[in-house]
């Protein structure tokens, strides 16, 4: 059954949202060199990169950026399928006592963020963890909220939100897909 596609954000809208988030991060964390960004694989990674360069344009220094693979911390491993492909976690800076901004593309049930926080805790003791997402689609199953949101998109359960990025998919856009589809529950 073919799914319906509705474009929620085009490239311009997506990048404007990122610029605004970058300003909000700086506003909330005023001291220089205050934050460290950690992108959640897969699409959180290029988003963190883009936020880092925008923050660098504002503050004249680029915040350190790391990459986190949360698959080892998921709560739904092997419930229904083979264990997901693992990629490297690479956080080349100290976490202890720092303010970490987690970056992801879509916030949904909150389980991915819960896993990301557990992973960060195993790597050190951050002073504070904040969350930046491009899209918040609702339907939280855990008490998790984002500090910085690109766009709030109310959705129903059988819909899904696809973020497509130039670095991975060849173009920038956010798409709402209607109709039943296998989807990773975020």
């Amino acid at each position: 059954m073919p799914a319906d596609r509705v474009r929620l954000m085009d490239a311009a809208a997506l990048n404007r949202a990122l610029t605004r988030i970058a300003h909000e991060i700086v506003e909330k964390n005023p001291s220089a060199g205050a934050v460290r960004l950690v992108g959640i694989r897969t699409r959180g990674v290029p988003l963190a990169g883009r936020l880092a360069s925008r923050i660098a344009a504002i503050e004249k220094t680029s915040p350190p950026t790391g990459v986190l693979d949360i698959n080892l911390y998921r709560d739904d491993l092997s419930l229904v399928g083979p264990n997901p492909v693992l990629r490297r976690t690479d956080i080349p800076f100290d976490i202890d006592g720092e303010c970490i901004v987690l970056v992801d593309d879509v916030l949904f049930t909150g389980r991915t963020i819960r896993a990301a926080m557990d992973a960060l805790m195993d790597l050190g003791r951050p002073r504070m963890i904040q969350l930046a997402v491009l899209v918040d689609r609702g339907h939280r199953e855990l008490p998790i909220r984002a500090d910085f949101v690109g766009k709030n998109v109310p959705t129903s359960f059988d819909e899904s939100v696809d973020v497509r990025l130039e670095e991975i998919d060849g173009e920038d856009e956010v798409v709402l897909v209607r109709g039943p589809r296998e989807e990773d529950r975020r």
Binding site: R41, T42, D69, N71, L72, Y73, L77, S78, L79, V80, G81, P82, N83, P84, V85, L86, R87, R88, T89, D90, D118, A119, D122, L123, G124, E182, E183, D184
Partner: protein
Amino acid sequence: MKLKDRHLLGIDPLEREEIELVLDTADSLAEISTREIKKVPTLRGRTVVNLFVEPSTRTQSSFELAEKRLSADSLNFAAARSSFAKGETLLDTARNLEAMAPDFIVVRHREAGAPHFLAQHCTASIINAGDGAHEHPTQALLDAYTIRQNKARIRGLRVAIVGDILHSRVARSNILLLTRLGAEVTVCGPPTLLPRGIAHMGCTVTHRVDEALEGVDVVMMLRIQLERMHSGFFPTLREYARLYGLDARRFGRAAGDAIIMHPGPINRGVEIMSDLADGNASVILEQVTNGVAVRMAVLYLLAGGGEREAAA
């Protein structure tokens, strides 16, 4: 992408993509051992039985560490202290283990085919930690991982495996894996220790060690066991060391940036001289470190469930 079989009985059934999946996954897991808290919760609540009917401190501890780093529960069954000493059959042992419902059984056994036997009688995932002279898949995987780390690739590399090929499961697994990944493998040893038909596994065979080492990128030395001397495979260790031991002169025939590997434990002064075992070209200790990451990768990949294509 997943491993097709829920057991790891050997390298033989694995396709190239599956081998690369294990190596790539090990890559992603390696950094865990560099953290302060060397643990992730991934296999929390899963039970692994380490059934080492043939004892082995190093392989067993490597598996145990891998299991614990993934937060699994480890249960160790060693030969001497177990019911095997009382004459319990492998079948009854398997049935007793089944009754405890482990998720994995890591088995090392002196009889080839023992892991296959367990796979027929247990529902757990069976991981072969070495069965007789047949295979030692995780050793070959960690060897390949070590080679890849040092040489960035395996395809097109020239590898020499030297020693008692006849009795070596490490040799068999490595021949299968390296040739499947596109390396050129030569095995070398005294003719009494070269098995019939080994060339059919895809390697070149020679008893001339200088020829075997000429220009190779990887030199893999195998341990020679004293009891083989008593069975007439070669006259003395002294003669074996003279004719087949790796010393600086022999190693000089290999490529300038060749690496030296050994599955351990090494017989210093017999198959390998100390200066080479401890020298810059040796990656023997890296092999040991890599063993934990590779075994973690195997456990992680076998722990998954059914058919769903995982989203990243």
